[in-house]
């Protein structure tokens, strides 16, 4: 059984890298930390990992991305993998989109950029402990 994956999805490379660094420093070797630069890449990756029997347990996704937006992406993930913890991390709060993701993707919560490390880690911790 391979390590579960925490997946970060953001089209902004510097956000992606800094997020992964934060998470890997905080959670260490318990998880594998993957990144995708848009929703399609993320969806492909999730399927690929699933094919390799590796499960994605947390997805932290931006909202405003090229291709499909964060809420649509998370809804699609939820259809395939309802158990995944989905968190939106966005620089722009679109009320309607967030509500949609909450309703149709069981969004765990939405954090705003710039995010507080503490807040982020605590959110993930609490979500993981609920599993």
């Amino acid at each position: 059984m391979s390590k579960p994956v925490i997946l970060c999805v953001d089209d902004e490379r510097m956000v992606l890298d800094s997020l992964r660094m934060q998470l890997s420093t905080a959670f260490g070797i318990r998880y594998t930390y993957e990144g995708a630069e848009d929703a399609y890449e993320a969806l492909d990756l999730i399927e690929e990992l699933d094919g390799d029997q590796i499960s994605v347990i947390v997805i932290i996704s931006d909202w405003l991305m090229p291709g499909i937006k964060g809420d649509d992406f998370l809804i699609r993930v939820h259809e395939r993998f309802p158990k995944v913890i989905k968190i939106m991390l966005t620089g722009q709060a679109d009320e309607a989109a967030i509500n949609r993701a909450k309703k149709q993707a069981n969004l765990h919560c939405c954090l705003l950029k710039p995010w507080s490390e503490t807040e982020l880690l605590e959110t993930i911790q609490s979500a993981l402990s609920q599993l």
């Binding site: 510097m14 956000v15 660094m21 420093t25 070797i29 594998t32 291709g67 710039p114």
Partner: protein
């Protein structure tokens, strides 16, 4: 005063003397008494006297005379001076002689010799009286005729037409002026009924012949004194308006025998009248015009004021449109700032947490490293820090996989291979890892790697922070530039390309969603313009382009120069502008968006700003390609 003459003719001198004596006594004071011996002398005398323009009042002649008979003499004298009274004084006169004298000489009296003085006196007195009367009469007649002539002259000379008509209407007299006005030379024969048509008399303004019974002449012949101004004469080439006055003339029994008609051409008067009217009208019109002019001036002032207000309002609208556009951008802009700031915060936190432990561990580490290993460590750091290439996460995953299998070939366990490969890839080391094996195969190899990792992350983190700060500043700057309000209204030199880039920065968010931006910027010198307002133009055009493409497609921006003009073109691959609205898109308040979204002022303001720069904007559009071209004069 030459006295008139009495001539006595006799062949007898004593008779002559006698006569002379008698006549002188009674008539000498008033008359010259002459004598002549015989007929021939008498005739000579008569000639002389006539030549001297003497008047011969009476001739007394004898009948029997040797040279010429008295009746013959009298007859001759009568021929020469018919007014002279002739008296025959004779003792022997035949009936024949006397009747001859009577018939051919108009003998006045015959006195027989010897005469009685008193009879002669009386006869002479009577004769002289008659002569005198006839003389008077002749004089009076002459005067009368002279008067008549003068009158006729006056009438002819008068500038008023005068005509006289008898009771039948026939024109018995017409002076020169009358003939001229009536257009005739000779007086025609006509009756009353024919007057109007013959003289072409019309009633003014009706084009109809003057009714006969109303003609002034006709009315005057009926006894009326008339004055009329409604007649006009129609000649071939002109119409003459007339003022007509007619008066009846009656004879001593009171019957109307004539009517006098005076008429004059009043065209001058009419013209003067119409001139006066015209002048009065002109004066009135001038007053009205003056009043209107004042009113118009007042209105103009009002309009000028309103225009000023409108211009100010327009400026406000442009400003607020700019702000409204900005409002729409803010959300995306916020995103653009929040990303770098998020990264900065995160990295700063990581660096902070890495730094202390690493610094503590480093000295201990170096003490345990051999010289060679030390080299390898520096090489490891070097490789990591010099790696500037950023690969996509997809590519990185591929490389990680390859590295993992490579490590597994080197007898690393799956988990270790996974962990090492992961770390190396994050550090930017994707291949050629042989040099690292010695380090990695140390018992604390993973810790060494960890320290190297942290060090490189600190350094790379700093670099990323710098990049992120640059990015955030750029966005803030773009925002500031966009929101800037130039108060002075002066043109300044500006680089158009910079302005376009500023706007693109603000739209980074939208562009990221799937817009491929192609820039073709030619060398463009700075242009004298209103840079803030041009930024508004770029913003509107880019905004519209992105909307048409739904933030997915290709946006091409071409900046070139053509004939001293800068040409800036924005091409999008969006759905295009429908044919039927192409003519309306620059109209104010025209929008294709639902109410509440967009003021519809965008392109109107763009056009106004382009016009302000003496530039031109045009577009062509088909589905899949819409091009907006903005031409700005580069020389102002």
């Amino acid at each position: 005063m030459i006295k008139p003459v009495i001539i006595c003719i006799d062949d007898d001198q004593t008779v002559l003397d006698s006569l002379m004596r008698e006549l002188s006594v009674n008539f000498g004071d008033r008359f010259e008494i002459e004598t002549a011996m015989g007929g021939l002398e008498a005739l000579e005398l008569v000639e002389d006297l006539l030549a001297e323009e003497c008047e011969i009042a009476v001739v007394i002649a004898d009948y029997i005379m040797p040279d010429m008979k008295g009746d013959e003499v009298l007859k001759r004298i009568h021929e020469r001076s018919p007014n002279t009274l002739k008296i025959m004084l004779t003792g022997q006169a035949t009936i024949e002689g006397v009747s001859n004298a009577v018939n051919s000489a108009q003998l006045y009296r015959y006195i027989a010799k010897p005469w009685v003085s008193s009879q002669l006196n009386l006869t002479l007195q009577e004769a002289l009286k008659i002569y005198w009367l006839e003389h008077q009469l002749a004089e009076q007649n002459a005067q009368l005729r002279a008067s008549e002539r003068r009158l006729a002259q006056f009438l002819e000379a008068m500038p008023i037409g005068v005509s006289v008509h008898d009771a039948t209407g026939k024109t018995t007299y017409a002076n020169r002026k009358a003939k001229e006005l009536l257009g005739i030379e000779l007086l025609p024969e006509s009756t009353i009924e024919q007057l109007s048509p013959m003289y072409q008399v019309y009633r003014t303004g009706t084009g109809q012949l003057y009714p006969n019974n109303e003609l002034p002449i006709v009315r005057s012949l009926a006894g009326e004194t008339v004055r009329a101004e409604d007649l006009e004469l129609h000649q071939l080439d002109r119409i003459i308006p007339l003022e007509v006055s007619t008066t009846p003339i009656s004879n001593e029994t009171g019957n109307i025998t004539y009517a006098i008609c005076t008429f004059q051409d009043i065209s001058d008067r009419q013209r003067a009248e119409s001139d006066r009217l015209r002048l009065a009208q002109e004066r009135e019109a001038k007053n009205v015009a003056l009043r209107m002019h004042r009113e118009i001036e007042a209105k103009n002032q009002e309009l000028a004021n309103t225009l000023q207000q409108l211009q100010a309002t327009q400026q406000q609208l442009i400003e607020s449109e700019k702000m409204a556009a900005l409002g729409q951008l803010v959300a995306g802009v916020a995103h653009e700032i929040n990303n770098p700031i998020g990264a900065i915060r995160s990295l700063a936190g990581s660096i902070s947490s890495f730094l202390s432990p690493t610094l503590e561990q480093l000295p201990a580490l170096f003490q345990t490293l051999t010289e060679e290993q030390g080299e390898d460590f520096r090489a490891l750091l070097g490789r990591s820090l010099h790696q500037e290439l950023t690969l996509s996460t997809k590519e990185e995953r591929k490389l990680k996989k390859a590295l993992r299998s490579q490590l597994q070939d080197l007898d690393f366990s799956e988990t270790d291979a996974e962990s090492v490969a992961d770390t190396l890839v994050i550090m930017g080391i994707y291949n050629e890892i042989d040099f690292l094996i010695p380090l990695l195969t140390r018992s604390d190899g993973f810790d060494v790697l960890e320290i190297a990792y942290k060090l490189s992350q600190i350094k790379r983190g700093m670099t990323t922070i710098q990049t992120a700060t640059e990015r955030a500043s750029k966005v803030v700057f773009a925002l500031k530039t966009y929101a800037h309000y130039e108060h002075s209204g002066q043109r300044t030199q500006a680089n158009l390309t910079e302005g376009i880039e500023t706007v693109l920065t603000l739209y980074q968010n939208q562009l990221k969603q799937g817009v491929n931006v192609i820039r073709n910027y030619a060398e463009l010198p700075p242009i004298l313009c209103y840079p803030d307002e041009l930024n508004q133009v770029w913003t509107n055009l880019i905004h519209n382009a992105l909307q048409a493409m739904d933030n997915r497609g290709t946006l091409t921006i071409d900046v070139t120069t053509i004939d001293f003009q800068a040409k800036i073109s924005f091409t999008d691959s969006g759905k295009g502008i429908p044919e039927e609205i192409k003519s309306k898109i620059f109209a104010p308040f025209f929008t294709t968006k639902p109410p509440g979204e967009g003021s519809g002022l965008g392109l109107d303001i763009v056009k106004k700003i382009v016009d302000k720069h003496q530039g031109k904007i045009e577009f062509e559009s088909i589905t899949g390609q819409t091009i907006f071209n903005v031409f700005l004069p580069a020389r102002l």
